[in-house]
């Protein structure tokens, strides 16, 4: 792994990027929170020529979870004697009124876990209902599906199913008319599951260079170089820089498990709106694991983002965090208005802390 963090390799890559750089503005979007972490963690934006911009797309599963899903979780854990489990970064995201962190401080039983297996363990030890707030893309969906398949006799366990899938979101962004994106860095983790084919279709249809990238700093820089080469050669291919992990057809077993448990549905993305065929819902035969059906709690239609908040525009790459009227004023990491300010993968959080 060391060559992917090796300073002299980094310098060589930067030299190659500078050699090929046309000085025109190039905007490259990635759609993965971990890529943003790599970019920030290693200070990659400062290493690249100024005309090459790395844009943070809708790749943070926390940021795109809709306010109504959070409101549902808050209402459920507040009104019923239940245990709600969630991944850490979901904890502080505001719903319409409260976040899970706030409702916990008012006495509700909200627990932070690392993986769904912990939620199952909790459920086995209690008579209370345990509900897991299940978010994430194709990467997290297989483990959730596998646990559901293995624990079908478990009577006190269900999930709030907030899973989304990436290719339809990329397709949606590429279909927007006024978007200026010259290429995509495609998500390595998601691709280990889904393989390369979905990007091949998108690259061809929308005539954009795409590169599946790993998560070390030199992976990302190499992916930028590959995109620049494609632009120079007027190509639009889906290439796989992360081929030490991502296979062409992906992980077929994981795909089968997802298909056994979930089916595709339309899904609302916070700040963006409904994207057709971009969500996963539990199949009817697993309806008893669906917290929404199980508890019959109704919530009013939630306001996804405060009027004026630019989270959606930012995730589409159409605005910068600094363009938002709330940025740094009423919206700060300690007291976020929009989801992009909460998650350490969120574009606003990063802009606020690293500007």
């Amino acid at each position: 792994m060391l060559e992917f963090r090796d300073k002299s390799t980094t310098q060589d890559l930067i030299k190659e990027i500078e050699k090929i750089n046309s000085r025109e503005n190039i905007r490259i979007m990635h759609v993965c929170g971990t890529h943003e972490m790599t970019i920030v963690r290693w200070g990659l934006r400062k290493l690249l020529p100024k005309n090459i911009k790395l844009i943070c797309g809708p790749g943070c599963p926390v940021c795109v979870t809709s306010a109504s899903e959070i409101d549902f979780a808050v209402k459920l854990v507040k009104e019923k004697e239940v245990i709600l489990t969630t991944f850490g970064d979901m904890f502080r995201v505001p719903g319409t009124i409260l976040s899970l962190s706030e409702v916990k401080s008012q006495g509700a039983d909200v627990r932070i876990i690392y993986g769904i297996d912990e939620a199952i363990k909790i459920a086995r030890k209690t008579d209370k209902e345990v509900i897991h707030f299940s978010i994430g893309f194709e990467t997290t969906a297989p483990s959730i599906a596998a646990e559901i398949l293995e624990n079908q006799t478990l009577k006190n366990f269900s999930i709030i199913c907030s899973h989304r899938i990436i290719p339809p979101a990329m397709k949606y962004i590429l279909s927007c008319k006024d978007i200026e994106i010259n290429g995509f860095i495609c998500p390595g983790h998601v691709s280990t599951i889904i393989g390369c084919d979905p990007y091949k279709i998108l690259a061809k249809k929308f005539v954009k260079p795409m590169v599946i990238s790993g998560f070390e700093p030199n992976d990302v820089l190499l992916s930028v170089l590959i995109i620049l080469r494609q632009i120079k050669n007027k190509e639009s291919k889906a290439e796989n820089e992360y081929n030490r992990v991502v296979k062409n057809k992906g992980n077929i077993i994981a795909q089968k498990i997802i298909n056994n448990v979930f089916e595709i549905c339309d899904k609302g993305w916070r700040g963006i709106g409904t994207i057709p065929n971009s969500g996963l819902k539990l199949k009817n035969k697993f309806a008893k694991f669906d917290a929404e059906k199980r508890f019959g709690i109704k919530i009013k239609k939630s306001q996804d983002i405060k009027p004026g908040c630019k989270c959606g525009e930012i995730m589409k790459g159409k605005a910068m965090p600094q363009d938002c009227p709330y940025f740094g004023k009423s919206c700060i990491p300690e007291n976020p208005t929009g989801a992009c300010m909460v998650s350490i993968e969120g574009a606003c959080y990063i802009a606020y802390n690293y500007s």
């Binding site: 963090r5 090796d6 300073k7 980094t10 310098q11 993965c32 929170g33 971990t34 972490m37 920030v40 963690r41 290693w42 200070g43 990659l44 934006r45 400062k46 290493l47 599963p61 926390v62 991944f87 850490g88 970064d89 979901m90 904890f91 502080r92 962190s101 706030e102 916990k104 401080s105 008012q106 932070i112 690392y114 978010i135 994430g136 893309f137 990467t139 997290t140 983790h189 700093p217 030199n218 159409k318 605005a319 910068m320 600094q322 363009d323 740094g328 004023k329 700060i332 990491p333 300690e334 007291n335 350490i344 993968e345 606020y352 802390n353 690293y354 500007s355």
Partner: protein
């Protein structure tokens, strides 16, 4: 697309404004050593309790590791710590040893020689006597090693369920025979030192929670022995023990209070390879998780090598390192030059450390 330019000054002003919004009920994040905790302490606790006295040369408003009582020819440092850890015993340490070690370290980073310690024990009904005895043994062991007596205390028993097993409060008093060391004293040109590897305590506890087998253990230590040698050399301009929240929030606090830039080379920061690897697996940054026996300090440039050598002589400072230097600008910030040569601002984490989901 408009591109509003946000200057450093406006960001600072916005931060100040923003930090005044405090949740109506206390949240766990407010005890995690990040910016939410700083905001609670600065805007609620210190504000309500600030009372001036002619004997006090550094009071609660300065938010130092200890307050300073100035009696003319005698200067005393006075500090206190509340301790609760789950589990109570862990590889490398325990609640008991931590409670006194933390107080001793708060005194020594102010330039003081610890001279006496007090304790308050809050016990839950039903706590096994053996656990209490074992805890007291650990407290006594650390105090003996540092040569500091425990001279007074108080014990309360609370109804089962009203408190979690055992909570310890300690307070300590120290005498300042040389210079007072303050968070506000770093000057451009100074060198930045750390006394050893970062993140051992936090990462080892999280690894324990998740059942990872590791040789990593807590770095818990009282540092009077080491600091005593450094005081003889003189030349420390600021110091802080990197406890809650670890390296990031504590070095940021030094940068903010001294109003200078801390420029740090990532490849110089000592981190145990195992802590680095476990941190990556668990999604936890070793720079933002607690240490319990490490000091971050700035020293005059001409004394840096001598102080480093003296630190390395001590068993708790063997892996000490010079990790960077103080620059004038950007004021109040920590800039990290990454291992591959990129640059980023190292910021104070907001609240608790959460594992990232993907």
């Amino acid at each position: 697309m408009t591109n509003m330019k946000i200057t450093k000054k406006t960001i600072e002003e916005l931060r100040k404004k923003g930090s005044q919004r405090i949740p109506k009920t206390i949240q766990l994040s407010q005890g995690a050593g990040g910016s939410m905790m700083e905001s609670l302490i600065e805007n609620v606790i210190a504000k309500k309790l600030e009372i001036k006295s002619s004997f006090v040369s550094s009071g609660i408003d300065r938010l130092e590791d200890a307050g300073i009582i100035d009696l003319g020819n005698i200067k005393l440092a006075f500090t206190t710590d509340g301790c609760t850890v789950d589990p109570m015993f862990y590889p490398g340490g325990s609640l008991g040893s931590l409670s006194v070690g933390a107080t001793i370290n708060d005194l020594v980073v102010m330039g003081a020689k610890p001279i006496a310690i007090s304790f308050g024990l809050m016990l839950e009904e039903g706590l096994p006597l053996k656990i209490l005895e074992k805890t007291l043994d650990r407290m006594a062991k650390v105090c003996k090693e540092a040569g500091v007596p425990i001279i007074t205390g108080d014990t309360k028993v609370m109804e089962k369920g009203k408190i979690d097993k055992l909570v310890i409060n300690t307070a300590g008093i120290g005498i300042i025979e040389g210079d007072i060391i303050s968070d506000y004293g770093a000057k451009p040109g100074d060198k930045i030192l750390v006394s050893g590897t970062m993140g051992d305590h936090g990462i080892s506890l999280i690894a324990l929670r998740f059942g990872f087998k590791t040789s990593l253990k807590s770095d818990e230590a009282q540092l009077w022995g080491m600091m005593k040698q450094l005081f003889k050399i003189k030349g420390i301009t600021s110091a802080k023990d990197a406890t809650r929240g670890g390296f990031s929030p504590n070095i940021n606090e030094l940068a903010r209070k001294s109003n200078v830039c801390f420029y740090v080379y990532e490849d110089k920061i000592p981190i145990k390879p195992e802590a680095k690897k476990l941190g990556e697996v668990l999604g936890i940054d070793p720079l933002s998780t607690a240490c319990e026996g490490k000091i971050i300090m700035t020293v005059k440039p001409d004394k840096a090598d001598e102080i480093l050598a003296a630190m390395r002589q001590n068993k708790y400072g063997k892996e000490a390192a010079i990790i960077g230097e103080i620059k004038k600008e950007p004021k109040g910030q920590v800039i990290l030059e990454t291992e591959i040569g990129g640059k980023r601002v190292l910021h104070t984490p907001v609240g608790e450390l959460y594992p990232r989901i993907c």
